[in-house]
């Protein structure tokens, strides 16, 4: 699991699949997930689990769902107090052609 090498100011609470997590304000959701030991986030069309890979917005394998139904790249989504995200890997959608 990713661990910080310095002390961290976990000043906010975000919710991952409705579970409260203490996090650093402005940190990317992907980084927060990794520090929670969560590597499987998204699910590919073949239903295989995927997770943060590039951390710079190019691979689109860290997609999470926001409260309003929008999907975002977790590595491009920056944590704010009370933010709720859901992991598609826990609720797969769409059929493969």
């Amino acid at each position: 699991m990713f661990r910080p090498s310095t002390s961290q100011n976990n000043s906010i609470t975000i919710y991952i699949d409705d579970e409260a997590i203490q996090a650093v304000a402005g940190e990317s959701v992907a980084a927060i997930l990794l520090k929670q030991g969560i590597t499987a986030v998204h699910s590919a069309p073949d239903k295989a689990a995927r997770g943060p890979y590039c951390m710079m917005g190019v691979c689109f394998d860290c997609m999470v769902e926001c409260e309003d139904g929008r999907s975002e790249q977790a590595c491009q989504l920056y944590a704010e107090e009370g933010m709720k995200v859901y992991l598609p890997v826990t609720k797969q959608t769409g059929a493969r052609t």
Binding site: A31, G51, M55
Partner: protein
């Protein structure tokens, strides 16, 4: 429609090239808008440098090269250029209209000139198991260090290249245990390549730095060189990495976190979707936008700078950003571009080491196209090498036609993760050059935007 914004110069990307261009142009009374994905300037190389500084330099382990970016980022922050953070540019027109979304809202802006400084991305390394959770790029590992001061103990590192060694060195500095470093660099260059690499001697400090990283890694980690046939296994998470060492012996090392790297390539989605002309670079095995000596592309008043025009590294990017800004300013003012020409001399010096790096770390064929037929090539659509081969043998002339045949490149990443691999597979199959094979026809939007964001641009929608 939202009220259009007007700027003399719009810069896309606040990395070294974008920031240095913004500083120069704004100092010379140009109105400058900078659009960047991230919450602050820095780009990938100086990512989070301002925020880290505000936290009293807690991240010393990143080294002096990283911290040298602070001065640039600070000067950029204090310049009159306006940065719109967390902005995703999804279309540029040849008439220099820029469309982008910021926090769920789409905007349009008009520019006198545009500078595309979208930098580089890591070359995809499509080996067996690279899609498993727990497998990330070396850049991702470094991003975790920079933005979260976080790493994992017991990880495996497989690949080669300057960023590979730098990040491992930083990992050691930060006090993380490394299980093993599996170096895939072939370790041999031809005599001709040594000849072409001679200019590297003009940058001895760079060479020494690299050797220092490598020797420290050799000393402090379980280091295996000359590795081939690297593959990752695991059920729903990376579990182990297998490879063959230089002597032909097979190894299997267990780890839940594995970091891969095979160098970096220009991010071409924006330059290609803007229909700038590109050429295939045989030395760097990637596409470069065609530009003049100042960075002006095949479309007038659209410039490219930094790694996005060809991999040159941070120092060269700073310089090329400045050259482009000098030229853009001179054109706007109708003055001479002589200062840009002088700047170019420095630019050439800063690029001296590049041929050496390109030859020394040129990825072997097995990292470009996996030998394993079951390896996934297109991550978005979960397509294996077999799927792609099947489509290619139907007789495709290029990657674009392969899209409809196989769905490769039709997913969210818009070909970023499979484009180069598929291009090479088709080129090899058709026995033709990469240049002739071509790439996907990339079209806007180059970043996904929601239906709602686009709907809000509908003309008869009242803006609130």
């Amino acid at each position: 429609m939202n009220t259009a914004l007007h700027y003399d110069l719009i810069i896309i990307g606040a990395g070294p090239a974008g920031m240095s261009a913004a500083i120069y142009a704004s100092k010379n009374d140009m109105t400058v808008l900078v659009l960047d994905d991230q919450p602050a300037g820095g780009g990938q190389v100086y990512r989070h440098v301002m925020q880290n500084d505000a936290a009293e330099k807690k991240a010393d382990f990143l080294g002096s090269d990283y911290w040298s970016g602070h001065k640039l980022a600070d000067e950029f922050t204090r310049s009159s250029a306006s940065l719109w953070p967390e902005s995703r540019v999804w279309q540029i027109t040849k008439e220099r209209e820029v469309f982008f979304s910021q926090k769920g809202k789409a905007h349009r802006a008009q520019a006198g000139a545009i500078l595309i400084a979208t930098g580089a991305m890591e070359r995809p390394m499509p080996i067996t198991g690279w899609t498993l959770p727990g497998v990330m790029t070396i850049g991702a590992a470094q991003t975790m260090l920079k933005t979260s001061h976080s790493g994992v103990d017991g990880a495996l590192f497989a690949g080669s290249g300057p960023l590979f060694y730098l990040t491992i060195w930083q990992y050691l500095n930060a006090g993380f245990d490394i299980k093993a470093v599996i170096d895939t660099a072939p370790g041999k260059m031809s005599l001709l390549h040594y000849f072409w690499a001679l200019p590297a001697l003009l940058q001895p400090s760079m060479l020494i730095k690299g050797l220092k990283w490598r020797s420290e890694i050799r000393r402090k980690t379980h280091y295996i060189s000359g590795a081939t046939a690297v593959s990752i296994s695991g059920d729903s998470q990376a579990e182990a990495l297998s490879f063959t060492d230089a002597s032909g012996k097979q190894h299997r090392l267990e780890a839940e976190h594995i970091f891969l790297h095979q160098g970096v390539v220009p991010s071409i989605n924006l330059t290609m979707a803007t229909e700038l002309e590109h050429r295939w670079c045989l030395r760097q095995l990637c596409w470069h936008p065609k530009t003049d000596i100042f960075g002006e592309s095949s479309v007038q008043q659209i410039f490219v700078a930094g790694d996005g025009m060809g991999i040159g590294g941070a120092a060269a990017a700073i310089s090329s950003g400045k050259i482009a800004a000098m030229r853009i300013t001179a054109k706007a003012r109708g003055t001479s571009s002589l200062n840009a020409v002088f700047q170019m001399v420095r630019q050439v010096q800063k690029m001296a080491i590049r041929p050496f790096l390109d030859y020394a770390f040129k990825p072997a064929d097995e990292w470009l196209v996996p030998p394993d037929e079951n390896a996934i090539i297109c991550r978005c659509e979960s397509l294996t090498k077999t799927d792609i081969t099947k489509a290619i043998t139907l007789g495709v002339s290029g990657p674009n036609q392969l899209k409809s045949f196989s769905r490769a490149g039709m997913g969210r990443c818009q070909g970023r993760m499979c484009g180069l691999t598929i291009q090479k597979m088709i080129a090899d199959h058709n026995s033709q050059s990469e240049d002739k094979t071509g790439y996907y026809r990339l079209r806007p939007p180059i970043r996904p935007l929601t239906v709602g964001e686009l709907a809000a641009l509908a003309d008869d929608t009242p803006t609130s």
